[in-house]
Symmetry: C2
Subunit: 498 residues, 2 copies
C-alpha cells in the first residue's frame, strides 16, 4: 500500500551525517525493483514494440504528477520496476545494437556517491575535493592522449556530441583571434551527425563533406579539398565510426592537414580507449597530432552515461572558454587561491562524472581496462568468423574495433530493416543497422565482456531464422515496400516465398 507523506516531516536528505542511513532502505528497494523488473522482462528488451511498451508504462506510472504523493517506497518500487521491465539492457548478450555499453557495477556504485554528495563543478566552494580529483584525473587522461607534451589538458563533457561541438568552437575562436570570422569544417561522409549539428549551432558554414572509400576518409581526398579552400580549416577525422567502427588513416590525414596549415579534430568517441591496450593502441597512431580529441568512456569504457572527455595539447587551447561570473569566480577570490572552474565547461552547474571514472581507473588500472578492451575486440573477430562460416549470412568486412556488420544473404534492404524491427519487437534481440557499400546491414556493436561464444552462435541462428520467417510472412506483392537502398547486382535472389 502506498504510504502518504507525513505533511509535518520533510522527506530525508541524502547528505549530512544521517544521509547514508536514510539512503540504505531506499537503495534496498531500488535493488529489489531492478531484480524484479529484469525478471519480468526476461530478455534484452521488452516485447511488443513502442506502442505496447508505452501503454504498459502509462498504466504503471500515471498519474506522473499526483496532487498527493504516494511516498518514497511506493514511488521507487513502482517506477524503477516499470522502467527496468521496459529497458533495453546491454548486459544481456543479445542486446548489441549501439555504442551503448553495460556499465560496470563499481562505476554505478561510484555514481551513487556523486548523486548523494551532489558536488557542482562550477565553483570550488561547491566541490572542493571533486575539483581536485577532476584536475588529477583529467591530467592523467590528457597525458595518455598526448604523452610527449608538457601541459596537455582535458575537459569532461556529456559525450562525443559535446566534444565535437567544443572542438569546432575552439577552432572557430582560434580563427576569430586572427580576424577571420569563420573556419571551414572539412569532414568525411563517415563523420558523426553531431559534427554537422555543431557547425549549425555555432553559426559556421555547412561542413564540406567528402566522400569516403571503404568508410574511411583518404588523405588524398582531404589534400584535394584543402587545396581548394582559403582561410582557416578544421579537418574532422574519426577513430571508430558509428556505422562500422572504422578508423580513418590518422597519420596520413594529420600529414596533409599539417601541410596545408589546417587543424585536426579527431572524434575518437568510440575508438579512443584503445589507447589503454598495448595490442590495439597502434591503431590510434597519429592521435597526438590533433588539436583536439574527443573520447567517450560511456562507450568502450563501461561507464554509465555520461563520461565524455575532450583532450587538447596544451592548457592554453582552452582559453576561449574562460568566462567570469562574479558570484562564482570573483577576481579577488581567484587571487586568494580559489580555483576558477567556469572555463572548464559551457555548463555552469555540473555533475562530478569524474568520480565514477576515477574509481574505474583505480579499480581496474590500465591493464584491467586493456583486458576488457582486448576481450571485446576478440569477441568481434570471433563473431565475424561465425558469420563467415554461416551458410545463410554474409559478412560486410572484418571488424576494426568491435562492430560487426552482416546480413542474411538473400534479404533485400527493406526485408533487413523489417528483420531488425521483428527482432526488437518480439523482445528477442536488439541489433542496429548501418548503410555500407550501398546496402543496409545488421550491426552488432559488441561491448559486453561477459558474452560467451555460444551466445553468438545462438544469436546468428536467431537472425537467420527470423530472416526466413520474415520472408515467409511478407505480403506477396513487394512493389509497395519502402526501400532504404538499392539491391546491388549480387542481391537479386528471389524475393518471394523462399
Amino acid at each position: 500500500m502506498p504510504t502518504p507523506n507525513d505533511p509535518g516531516e520533510p522527506p530525508a536528505l541524502a547528505g549530512g551525517a544521517t544521509g547514508p542511513s536514510q539512503l540504505r532502505p531506499l537503495v534496498d528497494t531500488v535493488l529489489g525493483a531492478l531484480s524484479q523488473g529484469a525478471a519480468a522482462r526476461g530478455g534484452p528488451i521488452p516485447a511488443g514494440g513502442p506502442q505496447a511498451v508505452a501503454e504498459r508504462l502509462r498504466a504503471q506510472a500515471t498519474p506522473v504528477l499526483p496532487a498527493n504523493g504516494t511516498g518514497a517506497q511506493d514511488a521507487l518500487r513502482t517506477l524503477v520496476r516499470a522502467v527496468t521491465e521496459g529497458s533495453a539492457d546491454p548486459a544481456e548478450p543479445y542486446c548489441a545494437a549501439h555504442l551503448h555499453c553495460p556499465p560496470l557495477a563499481l562505476a554505478v556504485a561510484a555514481d551513487l556517491a556523486a548523486s548523494a554528495l551532489n558536488p557542482s563543478m562550477d565553483s570550488w566552494d561547491q566541490a572542493p575535493a571533486a575539483t581536485a580529483l577532476e584536475a588529477e584525473t583529467t591530467a592523467a587522461f590528457a597525458a595518455l592522449v598526448y604523452p610527449d607534451l608538457p601541459q596537455p589538458a582535458c575537459l569532461v563533457t556529456t559525450g562525443g556530441s559535446e566534444s565535437n561541438q567544443l572542438g569546432l568552437l575552439l577552432a572557430r575562436e582560434r580563427a576569430r583571434a586572427t580576424g577571420v570570422p569563420a573556419v571551414h569544417i572539412v569532414c568525411g561522409d563517415n563523420a558523426h551527425h553531431s559534427v554537422h549539428r555543431a557547425a549549425w549551432l555555432l553559426g559556421l558554414p555547412e561542413p564540406r563533406t567528402l566522400p569516403t572509400h571503404d568508410g574511411t576518409l583518404r588523405p588524398a581526398t582531404v589534400d584535394r579539398a584543402l587545396a581548394e579552400l582559403r582561410g582557416p580549416a578544421l579537418v574532422i577525422a574519426t577513430a571508430g565510426t558509428t556505422d562500422t567502427g572504422a578508423i580513418d588513416p590518422l597519420p596520413g590525414i594529420a600529414e596533409v592537414t599539417t601541410a596545408h596549415g589546417a587543424e585536426l579534430h579527431i572524434d575518437a568517441s568510440y575508438g579512443g580507449p584503445l589507447l589503454f591496450s598495448k595490442h590495439h593502441r597502434a591503431q590510434l597512431s597519429g592521435l597526438q597530432s590533433a588539436t583536439s580529441v574527443g573520447i567517450d568512456l560511456h562507450k568502450l569504457g563501461w561507464q554509465p552515461i555520461a563520461a565524455g572527455l575532450l583532450a587538447v595539447p596544451d592548457t592554453t587551447a582552452l582559453r576561449p572558454l574562460a568566462t567570469n561570473a562574479d558570484y562564482l569566480n570573483a577576481h579577488d577570490d581567484i587571487e586568494a587561491g580559489f580555483p576558477d572552474l567556469l572555463g572548464r565547461s559551457l555548463r555552469t552547474t555540473r555533475r562530478p562524472d569524474i568520480l565514477k571514472i576515477a574509481v574505474t581507473l583505480r579499480a581496474l588500472g590500465r591493464d584491467g581496462l586493456a583486458q576488457l578492451i582486448d576481450r571485446v575486440c576478440q569477441q568481434a573477430q570471433r563473431l565475424a568468423d561465425l558469420v563467415e562460416a554461416h551458410p545463410g549470412l554474409t559478412l560486410y568486412a572484418r571488424p576494426t574495433i568491435t562492430t560487426v556488420l552482416f546480413r542474411p544473404s538473400h534479404a533485400t534492404d527493406a526485408e533487413l530493416a523489417a528483420i531488425r524491427r521483428a527482432l526488437v519487437t518480439s523482445g528477442t534481440a536488439v541489433l542496429g543497422r548501418a548503410h555500407a557499400a550501398g546496402r543496409l546491414w545488421l550491426k552488432a556493436t559488441l561491448l559486453n565482456p561477459t558474452t560467451e561464444p555460444a551466445d553468438f552462435t545462438a544469436l546468428l541462428d536467431l537472425v537467420a531464422r527470423t530472416a526466413r520467417e520474415t520472408r515467409t510472412g511478407r505480403p506477396p506483392s513487394n512493389g509497395q515496400e519502402p526501400s532504404t537502398g538499392q539491391d546491388p547486382p549480387g542481391g537479386n535472389a528471389p524475393r518471394n516465398g523462399q
Copy 2:
C-alpha cells in the same frame, strides 16, 4: 588491503539478472565511505582552503591511473571517502552559498537505477520505457507551465545554461526562418552569465544589456530598448536571479514584449518550482506568455544534478532541433512506429535524468513539493527577521524567494570578501557573495528544508564574530587591499582596530 583484479574474470556488470546482487556489496561500501567521510569532515566544508584540500586529495587518490588496479572495494572505499571528506555538503545547515541543493534521498536512490540500467535517450531501442516515462513526465511539466494551451512541450536539459542556450537557439532559428540571419537578444544586467555565453556560442551579436532598478528589469526600460531595435528580438527575463533571487515583473515585460512583436524567454531556473505552491505561484504570473521557460529541479526541486527543463508553448516550437542520423532514426523505422528522439536534445547519448524527477513527483506529489518550497521560503523570511534584529548586521532587502543578502554593518567590501573566505577556509560555513546596490553582500541561499531556526541564529553570530576577528587581524595599512567595490557614504566606519 587492496585486492588486485583477477585477470581471468571481468569485473561485474550492473545490469542483467545478476547485476543487483553484484551491486549490493559495492553500494554497502559506498554508504560506509559516505558515513566515514562525513564524520571525518565534521562540518559543511573541509578546513584548510583549496591548497590543503587538493594536497590531501592527491595524497589519498594518486596515482589516479595505476598500471594495475586495486580492485573495486579499495577504489570505492578510498575515493568515495576522500571526495566525501572533501565535499561542501548542502545538507549541512551552514552550507548555504549557492543554488546548490541538498538532494532528497529518494531522488538519489532513483538515480542509482538510472546509472545501473543506463538507458540512452537518443533512440527507442536503447530506452524503451524511459522514453515513455520522459514523454509522460515532460508533458505534465509543460502543462504546469502552460496550463491553458493544448500542446505544450518540454525538453530535459543539463540546467539553466543549456536551457538558456536552447531558448536563444530556437529564437535564432525562428528569425532565420523569416530570412533574418540573427535575432537581437535583450536582457537586464541581472541576467545569468550563460545568456551572454549562449549568444557568443550561437554567433549572435552581444546581448543588449539593460540597467536594472533594484535588481529587476523594468518594463519601461525594455519598452525603450525595443523601440530602438529593428528586426526580431528576444527579451530575456529572470524569475529568480542568482544574486538576490529577484523576479522580474513578468506581466509587464510580457506586455511590452508583445506590443513590440518581440519574443520572451524566461529564465526561471531558480524560481520556476514556485509553480507548485499555491502560496507562491502568483509571483510567476506572466510565465505562460513566454516563448520558452527554463526551470531547474536541481535548485528548488531537491534533485541531484542534472535536472533541467525547458518548456515551450507548443511542440512545433521544437522543430528546429529535428535532425536525422540513419542509425538512430531511419525514416522507415519512424514510419513503423519507432519514436524519433534525436530532436529532444543537442546531446546524442543522454542519461535518463527524468527517472529521479518522476520518482520525486510521484513520491511527494504537488502538495509535498509545495510544502518543501513553502518551508524554505518561510526560512528565508525568518533569517531576514533575525538579520534585522541583529545589532551588527545589515539586511539588503526582504527576500523574494529564498536568498538573503546581508553584511556586517561596518565591513568594507574587501573585508566582507575576506570574511567569506575565512569562513570557507576555516571549514565553518559556506556563504556566497553578491553585488547589489553598489556594495558586496554575503549571500545565504536557503535550500535545506531541515534547517532549524536555532541554526540561523548561530550562523549569524558566527558571521558577526568572524567579522570582528577579521578586522582585528587585518594588517594596519589598508592601502594595498584589493577592493571589489566602492564603499558608499554610509560605509565609512573606522577601518582599523575596531
